[in-house]
């Protein structure tokens, strides 16, 4: 388990403790054999991460579904794998928008969800941006994952393709500080405007206060 930085009070502001270079298709992708990358090497601390040269990427298998296979085949860097029986594609972050556009023309009408996973101190590239796509005509789901990292993580926005991603990307920005390039109104959505920090990052403390049963502050 990762120990997050202890912070006091509900408004701590430490962030950017870790830094990782953006290496799409780097070490992490190479080891993402059958499931998630972090699963392949648990406990791989960012500080002790080896700098070995990434193994050359073998071209992955393609899904049996023709729609998915055609979509994924057109992207060289896209890696397909099954996660708990569900189709997942890892794409390079700069191709996130292009892949979305291709997916939409392949029949994915709905962007069901956009969210972020923080692999703080677990992985060199810190964030996973996860988009769940849904196709009504093919009755199909596809999860697209792109890794972003660095001091100011940024990724192309999906709002030009699916405007419904607008709220979700605002939430991801609010909670993780990921900038979505091309989003029309990238502001905080759930937290107050003057909030400092990104609450769902792993280095942001839960912010729990010790429970007191007496001598608590009262307003009269």
């Amino acid at each position: 388990m990762t120990e997050s930085n202890p912070t006091d009070g509900p408004r701590p502001a430490p962030e950017g403790v870790t830094s990782g270079d953006d290496t799409p298709g780097g070490t992490d992708n190479a080891t993402a054999a059958s499931t998630l990358a972090p699963a392949a090497h648990p406990g791989d601390d960012i500080l002790g991460a080896s700098d070995e040269a990434p193994a050359p990427l073998p071209r992955r298998g393609l899904p049996e579904n023709q729609v998915l296979a055609g979509l994924i085949e057109s992207f060289d860097d896209a890696e397909w794998f099954l996660s708990a029986g569900q189709d997942v594609v890892r794409v390079a972050p700069e191709q996130f928008g292009e892949f979305g556009a291709a997916a939409k023309s392949a029949g994915f009408e709905v962007c069901a969800d956009v969210t972020v996973v923080d692999w703080y101190r677990k992985r060199r590239t810190r964030f996973d941006v996860v988009a769940n796509l849904l196709s009504l005509q093919h009755v199909l789901r596809l999860r697209v994952i792109a890794e972003v990292g660095g001091e100011a993580p940024a990724i192309p926005s999906l709002t030009p393709i699916w405007p419904g991603a607008g709220f979700a990307e605002r939430e991801a920005y609010d909670m993780f500080g990921i900038a979505f390039d091309g989003h029309p109104d990238l502001t905080r959505i759930l937290m107050p405007d003057d909030w400092v920090g990104y609450p769902l990052r792993k280095d942001f403390a839960v912010g729990s206060v010790p429970v007191q049963f007496k001598d608590s502050h009262k307003v009269t």
Partner: protein, 162 residues
Amino acid sequence: MTDVPRPPGILMSTVETAARWAATRSMFPATFGLACCAIEMMATGTAHYDLARFGMEVFRASPRQADLMIVAGRVSQKMAPVLRQVYDQMPDPKWVISMGACASTGGMFNNYALVQGVDQVVPVDIYVPGCPPGPQSLMHGILTLHDKIMSGEILRNGAVPA
């Protein structure tokens, strides 16, 4: 009621008792539904539990016309200033019921987003436990508030600092 401190004089004491009685019999709660508890508060107001028996079935939409605020649900950091403003807009005398575990203590959500107890923002007269409290619990809280008003335990009336 003999040990209750009363203002001197027969006339004034009688008038105050009458005023208290009137206050308990026609309380106007403000609609301040926040979360799960708000649904139970609505259920309390409808036919099955019938808050009209206590003369308070009319939830006022405007805080200017209300004298009871039932804080029904979890209060977030973003909502807390709004809550205080609504409270300040209510005319005196006014009372506050903190309904449910979240409003009273933050409940199970001890994290960055929630105010850990609405008593950090407004003075609370009655805490109703439960997650969410059933309509019976809320009615018990309301009746307890009536008792406290009648017995003069709550003497803040008209003397609340802004």
